[in-house]
Symmetry: C2
Subunit: 225 residues, 2 copies
DNA sequence: TCAAAAGTGTTCAGGGTACACCCATGG
DNA sequence: CCATGGGTGTACCCTGAACACTTTTGA
């Protein structure tokens, strides 16, 4: 360990996870009720400190894994929040991450242990710290991603109906979509493939189930270059 | 000062600035040759540590101001780089910022004092740390911004020709643009206004000078809502 | 007079959007 | 038999891309 930098300050660095999931068709966040100071009693994003021996990305993955039991989750940085007074207790800089999970994969015991709950985005409670800002930014970047990458399928179960897919797009993009135009577009995407299964839970008639094929998606990507 | 977090590690937090400028028509970066360890002798982005009493954004603005003498520069976060071994000397987490400046505004004395130089993007020297990755990410986000916001004008002098503007777009987007189509598009943008001045330095015939009117831009924005 | 950059319109194709009705089934 | 969600095709418009020649003037 060298002394190049000894004149400078060391600061606490934390990560906070904005965890998106689709709960009964509603876009939701996994939030916990804080049981300790500061901001005890308020809802907040799940967070943790970055240790000396782990990268920031690793810290985020660790926090998410502790809470949900899932590894290898799709995460990306939303931004770093570094206002001097953002944490009333101490000077803490936080790197916010956004994560997309399929709710069925979540270990409900781990979630219960942390007193975490899925709360729909359009009915969020009051949140502590600068977490509302983080969520806003995460949502904005989610919208952008939706327009470019096939991230929707990370929120959906392996088999899904086109109505579920459309509803998800409508929620995230915040606007209605014409059913025929939507299906026309999906039909042109080879990586969304029809299966032989039918979902009978959503309607009397039953709806065909589709799956997302990542191999096909990546092949088509390569082809474009 | 409380003791909520005393069990956790404190880390050095730095900022690094990817400073874009247009030098003789070429998109360039302001880089310095490091005179001290670690990575002494290599070129690097201009950086500095975040102090306990300043926000991360403030630290970035301070570093940029020290080097260029400019305040109120357009900056935004590119991302946080937190690999454990990214700095060979110590554990340092760095938040990269991108800045767009008009080269004429730069205080050349301050720049010289820091042994900084404008180096064209397509002829970059070997850089230390993970700075190449930061530059790559900054460039990607610059391209995205160019497609959405009128950021080009932050790199150009107050008066510019359409050829200069087109050349800048071509450099940043990395592809040629048809002159007539480009001018047609610009003509539809009310915030780019023709002036009565003519630039005689670039051609025998002379080219009309244009300016960007931010008020008009913002009025049109409001109108769209 | 000529080199060098400035400036100027039209045509066409493809993608995006608007729009309304029949189908299958369980209760 | 009917309520409920599933599923399907067409016409039009508008944006984006391709494309080449004339103008001005300093040297």
């Amino acid at each position: 360990m060298s002394a190049y930098y000894t004149r400078n300050d060391r600061l606490y660095v934390a990560v906070d996870c904005v965890i998106f999931g689709l709960d009964h068709g509603r876009l939701s966040l996994l939030l916990t009720k804080r049981s300790f100071e500061p901001e005890a009693g308020k809802w907040s994003l799940m967070g943790g400190f970055v240790g000396r021996e782990e990268s920031v990305d690793e810290a985020a993955a660790r926090v998410l894994h502790d809470l949900t039991g899932i590894a290898d989750v799709y995460m990306h940085q939303v931004g770093t929040f570094g206002a001097v007074d953002r944490d009333p207790g101490e000077r803490v800089i936080s790197v916010a991450y956004s994560a997309l999970v399929n709710i069925a994969d979540v270990d409900s015991a781990a979630v219960a242990e942390h007193e975490a709950h899925w709360l729909p985005l359009d009915e969020l409670p009051e949140l502590g710290f600068d977490h509302p800002m983080m969520i806003e930014r995460a949502l904005a970047s989610l919208r952008r991603k939706f327009a470019v990458e096939p991230v929707a399928f990370r929120l959906l179960p392996p088999l899904f109906t086109l109505s579920q897919l459309q509803a998800l797009y409508e929620t995230v993009l915040g606007e209605g979509i014409d059913k025929r135009n939507f299906r026309k577009r999906v039909a042109e995407v080879e990586s969304v493939v029809a299966t032989d299964s039918i979902d009978k839970t959503g309607s009397r008639r039953g709806a065909r189930l589709y799956r997302f094929d990542n191999d096909i998606y990546e092949q088509n990507l390569r082809f474009k270059i």
